[in-house]
């Protein structure tokens, strides 16, 4: 029963969502609102799972004096210090908001900005492979990159229009196909879960 009962829970919760969406009586019962709330509340109580894991890992680093263990001390101090602050005064509290605006926000945007350099060098390495696909990918990237910036139209009149066309037609076409494909995959997985064929989520917690 340690495997069968969780499968029943999976199937039932999935069927309740479908029932609430597609059946008039299901809509009238308002089960979807209850289930939404249950999902959000139960998932929010699981957030400390990450904290427990993180503390276990970094406490281990500190105890074993692993190389760079002082970084783990900083991580735990920030985690518990700022965690206590946000719980005590909400994330909009004066000190909590100051830390968010002046530490997290600049760090976040600089981290993302840093990626520009690494993906550019990755593109250069891909271009050096000299396949036709990589060349097309890179040429398109350059057209869009320069076309969406003022320099594109300054260099060649109409460059921006070409970039817009690429984004509007082939880009939309390609990504729409990817989205449709992914949605079909998600549908198939959803059916497999509700039929009890997909049980990967039950693994890793020990079986008897």
């Amino acid at each position: 029963m340690r495997k069968e009962l969780p499968i029943i829970v999976t199937v039932l919760s999935g069927l309740v969502v479908i029932f609430s969406r597609y059946f008039h009586y299901g809509m009238q019962l308002g089960l979807m609102d209850t289930l939404d709330k249950w999902y959000l509340v139960s998932a929010s109580f699981a957030i400390l799972l990450g904290v427990v894991n993180m503390v276990k890992i970094h406490w281990g680093y500190i105890r074993r004096r692993k190389e760079g263990w002082w970084n783990s001390i900083v991580l735990l101090l920030c985690l518990f210090g700022y965690g206590a602050l946000t719980v005590q005064q909400t994330v909009d509290g004066p000190q909590a908001a100051w830390i968010y605006n002046n530490l997290i926000t600049p760090g976040d945007s600089t981290m993302f900005a840093l990626i520009a350099f690494f993906i550019s060098s990755a593109a250069y390495r891909a271009f050096r492979v000299r396949t036709k696909e990589a060349t097309v990918l890179l040429i398109t990237a350059v057209i869009v990159l320069l076309g969406k910036a003022p320099i594109g139209d300054a260099l060649i009149n109409g460059w921006g229009t070409l970039a817009d066309w690429i984004l509007k037609v082939p880009n939309t076409g390609g990504f729409r196909a990817i989205i449709i494909g992914a949605a079909i995959g998600a549908f198939a997985t959803g059916f497999r879960i509700l039929l009890g064929l997909e049980r990967a989520h039950l693994g890793g917690t020990g079986t008897k």
Partner: protein
Amino acid sequence: MGANIFDPANLTGAIITLAVLSFLIKDNPVFDLFQHGFVGLYFAYSIGLTYHSYIRPTIVDDIVKKGHYSYVIPVILGLLVYFMFVPSMNWIARYPMSFWVGYGAGYILAFQPGTLMPQIYNTFIRFYGKATFLDNLNAILLFIGVITALAYFFFTVRKQGTAVGLAAETGRWVIMIALGAAFGSTVLYRITLFVGRMQFLLGDWLGLLK
């Protein structure tokens, strides 16, 4: 714009920005220190946000003040996941996981058609009757792009020397162009962020920009 080098907010932002950018030279202890602190801060922020958005309102407002005792069930369900740290009873953690996966599967089956069908409809039905000849041509090209790119993902049919194979080959180029455009947009967005950081360093912090 006057320089505000020693303003605590600007100084903190500048130190963080320079610590992250130092990674461009090479991996270094300052960057490592910041990276770890950043992970801790972000995690702590999400804890505070979750606590005040869901945990506290559910326990204090819904259960204690309003007497909605049915909300005790999701609270217990969420807490059951911590049994995964008890080796002899870790099977109990399967129950919340089962609920989340079942809810997710049901949600996909119930709500995804609502967002997906308009896209399919717009691709397959509305490729005529546009305002200009160019609009019609673009709609037809979009239709061809979607069909051929979808054909590329048919892995269960024989492609060599067939119409599906030809469509799949065309679809491969469509996907390459789409990925190239996405790549270009991503680089542009990142560069914009970089320019923003430079404006902060040189303008807000050092006051060198007019």
